[in-house]
């Protein structure tokens, strides 16, 4: 890395140092200036202000985990659709794109690419359905 490149990180370094100093100062102020009147109510753990009920170590059904995984897969699918939609015209154009108009031949490349991607996800969906991962039962 050259010196110029290193100086590019200067502002980031300042921001980090400032962040550390800022949090130290305010935590310290609270520690030294704040009054400390402890009682049983204050020191007990709380959930949303109400009395805690039962042990926090509950066992969750593994099904939640399955649903979370499925959500992740199809969420990523949706996330991939946005950049694809944004560059769809450029993907499908064999020339330059000016103002959304293609100056050249329009191809099905972008469309077919997304079809391939979606069809692999459909395979995944079919697999998940047949393996009974979608139903809660």
């Amino acid at each position: 890395m050259s010196v110029e490149q290193a100086t590019d990180y200067g502002p980031t370094l300042v921001a980090i140092l400032f962040g550390i100093a800022f949090s130290c100062v305010f935590l310290g102020l609270a520690m030294f200036l704040g009054p400390k009147r402890e009682n049983a109510e204050k020191l007990s753990p709380f959930e949303c202000g109400s009395e805690p009920i039962g042990s926090p170590r509950v066992r969750f059904s593994v099904k939640f985990y399955q649903v979370a995984l499925l959500f992740l897969i199809f969420d990523i699918e949706a996330a991939f659709l946005y950049p694809w939609a944004a560059i769809f015209r450029r993907l499908s154009c064999l020339g330059t794109v000016i103002g959304g108009e293609c100056l050249g031949t329009v191809t099905a490349f972008g469309f077919v690419e997304m079809l391939v991607f979606m069809s692999t996800l459909v395979v995944a969906l079919a697999y998940v359905w047949r393996k009974r991962a979608i139903g809660w039962g």
Binding site: M1, S92, L94, T120, A126, Y127, K131
Partner: protein, 516 residues
């Protein structure tokens, strides 16, 4: 945006196996299942909420011949591609992958080893009551990852390949769900692997930060012209650590014995042969193909670093294997020491140059086949009627009398691992050490390697003497598995090991022709 159909043709093995994996996955998903209650073996009616769908015993066996056909098809495509390949390498998908003889050779070895390994899977899974239809799809998907890794021309595809390969291997390792050791093995492998993936990405990020590119060709050009910055060294060191973890090289081997020992035996065979071959091929492409100029620096060059990894790996692997009473675990440690011998080959690549690549590939191929043969016998013998593993040395005592065929095949495989003529292992070591001797500075490393091979003979022979000269224990291994496919698979791989040892010329010519 344009698209080259010639890219599709050039990456045909990858595309073919991807489609094959998807087909296998769907075949498994749409085959018949039975509903079984959460309690084992308790059959419940379909509407009961706690029922799970499992394949009926033996119902997924037909997937093995289908997979075998797909793998043979892939091999045919690879052979056809080698025949039509131009002299220079072809870069496809805008510089993401490269098609050359080196890559195709290693892919061919991986596909062949996988094909010889999966034939023992149905009988093994049946005997151990772990039937699992996704097995075949996962093997094929892992092979796709290996192809990407071996043909990678970009750090992004290196990472993509390693991850695809490892994901398949993690699930396969833990696929024997009844066995606590299999779950432990998968957990260890997964946690270490996930951590190492982080190191790999970090290394790639640092290299990108210095060179502003992820393309291997551009990285080579930039490192040649500008010299390497300190951050670049840190970057490739992290990459090297990542590869060393994946290959199970000391001191990054901690996961390997437990994982290879705990995983279902056909999976251990698959990992020791294919993942090792693909990983070493990726490492060779990265080090010799991209960073040859960093090879020879006295303390920071990769030949210096790797020669120590090789010494540690060979010595520790062999010393730990000596006291193993469990044959599968012994083979796991032996795989660590073989990673060390292969590292000697990579060091030779850095000092001697291209002349060492052929011998290294020969060693990779011979080791992959030998592992498949030995793990095939372990799958065959190492089981009892209750589906538990019988891989202790005492279980195998007197096997030569009870099951002469299995004992003979195991003997040949072990002799090849130990490097005796007339097996593939002998010529693997012979060619490798001969090539490394091209540089007199490597003499000490060769001497360490030879001393280690002598040590290793002890524990390989221990199994052989137990099989032939020890009286069977009161409760010996009983071999309940009667599977023609498994026997043929082991027989073919052992015959190949012998053929490579008796007629090494054809393979070594093939290896020498496998250029970048």
């Amino acid at each position: 945006m344009t698209f080259d159909t010639s890219d599709l043709v050039a990456s045909l093995p990858l595309l073919f196996l991807t489609v094959a994996g998807i087909v296998l996955l769907l075949l498994d998903a749409f085959s018949r299942v039975v509903l079984v209650g959460r309690e084992h073996h308790l059959k419940l009616p379909a509407e009961t909420s706690e029922a799970v769908a499992v394949p009926p015993p033996g119902s997924r066996n037909y997937l093995m011949p289908v997979t075998l056909l797909f793998l043979l098809g892939a091999l045919a495509i690879i052979v056809w591609q080698v025949g039509t390949l131009p002299e220079t390498s072809v870069t496809i998908y805008r510089g993401m992958l490269v098609v050359d003889r080196f890559g195709l050779f290693v892919i061919g070895v991986c596909v062949a080893a996988a094909a010889l390994g999966i034939v023992s899977a149905p009988a093994y899974m049946r005997a151990h009551k772990m039937e699992f239809g996704e097995f075949y799809a996962l093997v094929v998907f892992a092979l796709c990852g290996m192809i990407i890794l071996v043909q990678a021309a970009d750090l992004v595809s290196v990472f993509l390949g390693i991850e695809t390969m490892s994901l398949g291997a993690y699930v396969l390792t833990g696929s024997w769900r009844r066995s606590a050791r299999s779950s432990e093995a998968a957990m260890k492998y997964f946690l270490v692997g996930a951590f190492v993936s982080g190191l790999l990405v970090y290394g790639i990020a640092l290299i990108y930060g210095v060179t502003e590119t992820t393309s291997l060709i551009d990285i080579k050009r930039i490192a040649m012209s500008r010299g390497a910055a300190p951050l670049f060294y840190i970057g490739w060191m992290l990459l090297l650590v990542g590869f060393a973890f994946k290959l199970g090289v000391v001191p990054f081997h901690m996961w390997a014995p437990d994982t290879y020992d705990g995983a279902p035996t056909p999976v251990s065979g698959f990992m020791m042969s294919c993942i090792k071959a693909a990983g070493f091929a990726g490492l060779i492409r990265l080090l010799q193909g991209t960073l040859p100029m960093l090879a020879r620096d006295p303390f920071t060059g990769w030949t210096f670093v790797l020669s120590w990894l090789a010494v540690l790996s060979m010595s520790l692997g062999n010393l730990a294997a000596i006291k193993q009473d469990n044959i599968k675990r012994m083979l796991a440690y032996s795989s660590i020491s073989h990673a060390g011998y292969l590292m000697v080959g990579v060091v030779a690549l850095g000092t001697v140059g291209d002349a060492a690549r052929g011998p290294l590939l020969f060693y990779l191929a011979s080791y992959a086949l030998t592992v498949v043969a030995s793990m095939g016998v372990v799958s065959w013998v190492g089981c009892d009627e209750r589906g538990e593993e019988r891989v202790r040395l005492s279980d195998w005592a007197g096997l030569g009398k009870r099951e002469p065929m299995a004992a003979l095949l195991m003997t040949i495989a072990l002799l090849s691992l130990g490097g005796f003529p007339p097996t593939a292992g002998f010529f693997g070591k012979f060619y490798l050490f001969q090539a490394a001797l091209g540089e007199s500075k490597l003499l000490w490393l060769i001497l360490v390697a030879i001393a280690n091979s002598l040590v290793s003979v002890y524990y390989y022979l221990r199994v052989i003497t137990a099989m032939y000269f020890r009286e069977p224990a009161p409760n010996p291994a009983t071999l309940p598995i009667q599977s023609t496919a498994m026997k043929v698979g082991v027989l073919v791989s052992t015959l190949l090991v012998l053929a490579m040892g008796m007629f090494p010329g054809w393979l070594s010519a093939l290896c020498a022709a496998a250029k970048f």
